[in-house]
Symmetry: C2
Subunit: 186 residues, 2 copies
Amino acid sequence: MRRVTIFEQTSLDGFFADANGDMSWAHKDDPEWNAFAGSNARSGGALLFGRVTYELMAKFWPTPEAKEIMPAVAEGMNRMSKYVFSRTLDQVTWSNTTLLKGEPAEEVRKLKREVGPDLVILGSGSIVSQLAQAGLIDGYQIVVNPIILGRGKSLFETVTRRLDLRLIDRKPFRNGNTVLTFDSAA
Amino acid sequence: MRRVTIFEQTSLDGFFADANGDMSWAHKDDPEWNAFAGSNARSGGALLFGRVTYELMAKFWPTPEAKEIMPAVAEGMNRMSKYVFSRTLDQVTWSNTTLLKGEPAEEVRKLKREVGPDLVILGSGSIVSQLAQAGLIDGYQIVVNPIILGRGKSLFETVTRRLDLRLIDRKPFRNGNTVLTFDSAA
């Protein structure tokens, strides 16, 4: 069965975006971090997005600017298989992208039964929240940033039950980030 | 000037207590963790509490049970100088405790100007939130637990501005906790 993992930025107070939806506070640009982001993008999984995150990504990664600033990440993002959940989009233009119109938990149950690479969710807070609540997330890779936002959007906003996790890896970065990797303990 | 630091448990979604105020999910009892908690309790600072946390602690640490289960921590907690913020309490019975009736930020500004050991806040979410907003916290020691709570109480509930921190230490524990230590970057 294909695994579903999430890769998410978080503030110390548990937000992936500030109250205005801004995620630029999480932006890091140093060689150690860029190497990690690049190797993550070469990992060969397929990507899953909510509509909001998809549109942000689809606007950026295919551009010449993206290819110049972060060539390894841009190459990976454009090449990988991508799925986007949306009831409002009619078509998708980003390379190698499939539009999924069904209910996210149901679509993910179907994808997990198919043969294919593991599935990675980037950003996409409302999708993460629904899938976490449904018990469909197998792995959590969380980038703990050295910041408190005070107000913001939580990744697990609609989760109403406790999810116990098992820590499997910690990666320290000189920029102050700590990447914690967990498996679902259920 | 005396430093004010906080020592706090957090879930991955940024809560120090669940929606019912329960903090038992953060409880760990293994030799590596107990040694760390014991050495923290021997650090010689003075403790600052909000009324709710104070009452929980004052009910537990002076008991024979506490002295039997965690002797090093109990000895430290009972011996250290303690301050509790409360407008409703009239007296305090726990050893070495001073009652502060003024507005927390104002009282802390006064304490910082006095000569004495550094001040450590345990739990006390509403006090932490007020002091963080007022820029009075110098150090943040955050225990990141391997759990998602979904619903809960945030340490920084009344913080309305972004607080940039500087990571100064990471301590990994085999129980899945990661203790991250930050200084205020302001």
